[in-house]
Symmetry: C2
Subunit: 159 residues, 2 copies
DNA sequence: ATAAATCATTGACTTTTTCAACTATCCATA
DNA sequence: TATGGATAGTTGAAAAAGTCAATGATTTAT
């Protein structure tokens, strides 16, 4: 007998296609796990008026690294013009500010306001919960191993 | 003094933003590694008139699993209408065919033609090379571990 | 037999991505 | 120190991808 939980999750997904050879493809696995995580992430972030994109921009603005928009674009694998739009909105909401670069006045350093920092703290907690839900199939050791492998693939042993 | 290799790769990316806390976020790491892999993948698949999406549909059509369009949509995290468009094109090129489901005549089973199988074999080899390039920072054991963790996160210990 | 649900499809609509200008600024060098 | 070429951010247009509701055919449940 079905319960109310049915509207939330497919308890038995019956993924017969898991047997296909493409299930061995790293690109496919990355895309699929990212897709399922994104759903949870965006759902959690919506409470703060954020999506994955704006959240990651806000996260970088909250670092002490003084990132420029171009650095953000490269790091987030986005077009510089997309960063403009994302920051425009965050700035309009008073969460981040643009400041001219110190050495290079063409560049703009994006940093979080006090309110941006407060929103980020809350959003970060929600994102952490969403991540835990997305990786519920793994235990703590495995999650650490997964992240370590992903970082190594991206940036080498150093990172 | 720069050489011709500069147009291909940033040798020293100087990713200072790696230090940001978001670099510990699984969702971000998945997105970023997938993004960099997609570039290589799509570049490799372009030789066969394919992209990641059409390649994965062709891959499923090449399995013996007799997938329906709906099953493909669910498995590939796509809207059913997107599957329609992808299959329309592959069918127009003579790489796959639609057949009515055996038990359910509403459903359509997508399978590869002989030509579709031939194209897929070549594309698969190219995709394998692209994946190897995308995961060049990991050794064989690590790649297997990464894939195993991704599969476990998606489908549990069974898969 | 009827009603409700499901599959593929279409079309409208929104969002995201991509790309080519453009201005301001920086850098190299003559 | 002036000139030329590169780079950062911005704008806007066009292409691609994603979302969603409606529809006809078929299946399933009652």
């Amino acid at each position: 007998m079905p319960t109310e939980a049915d509207e939330q999750l497919d308890i038995v997904p019956t993924e017969k296609l898991v047997a296909a050879t493409i299930s061995q493809d790293a690109g496919f696995l990355l895309a699929k796990l990212h897709a399922s995580g994104s759903v949870l992430n965006n759902r959690a972030l919506a409470d703060f008026g954020l999506k994955e994109r704006s959240y990651s921009v806000l996260a970088l603005a909250n670092s002490e690294l003084e990132p420029t928009q171009r650095e953000m674009a490269e790091f987030l694998s986005l077009d510089p013009s997309q960063i403009v739009a994302l920051i425009d909105e965050l700035e309009k909401r008073g969460l981040v500010i643009r400041a001219p670069g110190k050495q290079d006045r063409r560049a703009k350093i994006v940093s979080a306001t006090a309110e941006g920092a407060a929103v980020f703290r809350q959003a970060e907690a929600a994102a952490r919960e969403a991540e835990a839900a997305a990786l519920a199939g793994l235990n703590g050791t495995e999650i650490a191993a997964l992240k370590g492998l992903l970082r190594k693939a991206l940036w080498g042993p150093a990172a």
